[in-house]
Symmetry: C2
Subunit: 378 residues, 2 copies
């Protein structure tokens, strides 16, 4: 059971950028190409970046709406709850939801900033990315530094710039870095290369966990294009299993003993199977397949227990099997304001899911692990 | 515990076609283009089809070899155990393994015959496919009809031909049809169309389950190309989760109430999470996403429990959670002679895995469910 005095910390939510974020923060010469909101003929408001109109989709901000009323159509800012883009309203919505603190991913830039990776003009993209990080420190999180925890974007197109951004933001109190769950799918070197070593070392030095949200690598097309949207939604979190297998079979965690990875919105109920399967395959394949890249004496499940966190919203099977994942390796998330969110019932719901869980373990998963990992004062 | 008098039935093994299968069975005019074995410069023996040399890889027949000695290199027939391609030797290997009966997938044609789908000449491919089915009835399974169970290939490029092949083979005692786990990935219409309805109806009429082996749809590239082979091997079975989500969100099972699907070499430990997640997403999305294609009152997990079987080799977590899958929905497999096989210890191993399982449930999973589903006499 979850004791009533435990402050719930959610490690995966989303802030919808206010319409004037970049207009206010970019130098004048970059404003026309930078992200700004335009009216479309269909009566929706959408972002325009480098002359291209893109998103948001209707599912990106539906917290509190009736299930039967949801559509895929683009929406207007006025259709969203102000808590989507206004940090003061967000805190009120968190109060109503029973959530003490949140770690928010970007929305328009992509959850790991891949829109800026794909930009034609990387100088512009760099300015946009730094403006987002500055907004997070100076406005969003400044509203309530204990409750709105700063996560930062890094330029994915240049590891040296990424290191510089980590070093620029760490002293300002950054708590985490958002990063794609795989990179080769984005046309970048994979985790099997040494391309990212300086970035991982900078994250280790700054004690910043890497949050890898499902979908940030570009979801592999494993579902028929004419399937209902729900089919790909079902497997969304599951797409982190290939990513985790890729990472745990790579040299990354062997070379970076302090690096911490959080798989966001991936669920935990699949992890016990995944860890058993990883170790079985490692047993069969390690002698000819791994050498000399990784240490063939360290099991993938050992790496997991030192380096990886899973997150849950509503995953009864995962919670029942928490000891197979490791109670110290599980975090809670609420996904406000997206379609998986249970707002305004997140706390009520997780209390119910945790009914049969001992109080100390419940507290670990919804509070203590996040405090330790993100070095929170509370 | 598994009682010593229970006959173990494995529903997923592989027969390596003997080198002269097609030379003996194709008309003379097709023999040059048809599959035949050639010596390569590197000293291996490989299949040649339509003038192209292809496979087998070294991992396709390793049962009983030392883990440290395994390589990815192509092999010679003499390097394999005769049980790979000789049904008499196979029965001896099954005796040594403690396995009573096997259902064998093809090897060279692809586990669901996709090599023939990709053939330039479909008249040739059709003849090759029928030769394989004839070989299975007349030679492989004729050696011991109770112990070697006939599974058939169908022409994937033409549903009418597939129906004809089902109708040709059903009266000969076919027990199952091998079929890709998704079709759109192969450039064919998806399960969301009515393209396959006649095939499903023919399978229902003949009471033939559809066995969908992982990898038959072309594994989605979710792992970095420079990752160790082990990373993609780990997720192999997991690739059936997207396929299952695709199927359970499609009209297929709503329209074909008797159709039975077996997910081969996919494991079962991920299924409880998958079923919980499927129902959650269905709850959130069904009103605007499914209509009018499927019945929005039938949960994906309800469809699963009427239509789907999972299979396990060595999946302790799955066996522990068998009641969340349904003990009547679980089958056993040994994967002889591939890399996941535990030959000659399959029975010993599954006895150990089932130590804490009540005898009636153990018998259901390794015997009774297969007898019922495949209409076996035993």
């Amino acid at each position: 059971m979850l004791s009533s005095d435990v402050k719930v910390i959610s490690v995966d939510d989303h802030l919808c950028e206010p319409r004037d974020l970049w207009e206010r923060r970019l130098p004048a010469r970059l404003q026309e190409a930078g992200p700004h909101v335009v009216e479309t003929d269909g009566g929706s408001e959408q972002w325009c970046f480098e002359g291209v109109i893109a998103g948001p989709s209707g599912l990106s901000a539906v917290a509190g709406t009736d299930l039967k009323g949801r559509t895929m159509d683009p929406r207007r800012f006025d259709d969203m709850r102000p808590g989507c883009y206004d940090p003061v309203a967000r805190l009120e919505d968190m109060d109503e939801d029973g959530v003490w603190a949140q770690l928010n991913f970007p929305q328009f830039p992509g959850f790991a900033g891949t829109r800026f990776l794909r930009a034609k003009d990387h100088e512009l993209a760099h300015a946009c990315l730094q403006a987002w990080n500055d907004y997070v420190f100076e406005e969003w999180c400044a509203t309530s530094p204990d409750r709105l925890l700063p996560m930062i974007l890094v330029p994915l197109w240049d590891p040296a710039l990424a290191v510089a951004e980590i070093e620029r933001c760490a002293p300002r109190g950054a708590k985490a870095i958002t990063f794609p769950d795989t990179t080769d799918s984005l046309g970048l070197p994979s985790f099997h290369t040494d391309h990212w070593d300086a970035v991982w070392s900078a994250a280790e030095a700054a004690e910043l966990p890497i949050c890898m949200h499902f979908g940030t690598s570009g979801v592999p097309r494993a579902i028929a294009p004419d399937a209902p949207k729900m089919a790909s939604t079902v497997i969304a979190g599951f797409t982190l299993f290939p990513s985790m297998s890729d990472l745990l079979c790579s040299p990354t965690l062997h070379r970076h003993p302090k690096l911490q990875i959080v798989y966001s919105e991936g669920g935990i109920g699949w992890m016990p199977y995944a860890l058993e399967r990883l170790d079985q395959v490692w047993e069969h394949y390690r002698f000819y397949d791994l050498e000399p890249r990784v240490d063939a004496e360290v099991r993938p499940s050992d790496l997991f227990r030192e380096h990886v966190y899973g997150c849950f919203i509503d995953d009864r099977f995962g919670v029942e099997n928490r000891h197979k994942v490791g109670v110290d390796r599980i975090l809670f998330e609420t996904d406000y304001p997206h379609a998986d969110s249970l707002w305004p019932n997140s706390r009520k719901h997780v209390e119910e899911v945790l009914t049969d869980v001992p109080a100390d373990e419940a507290k670990q998963m919804v509070h203590d692990n996040a405090v330790r990992l993100f070095r929170l004062s509370d």
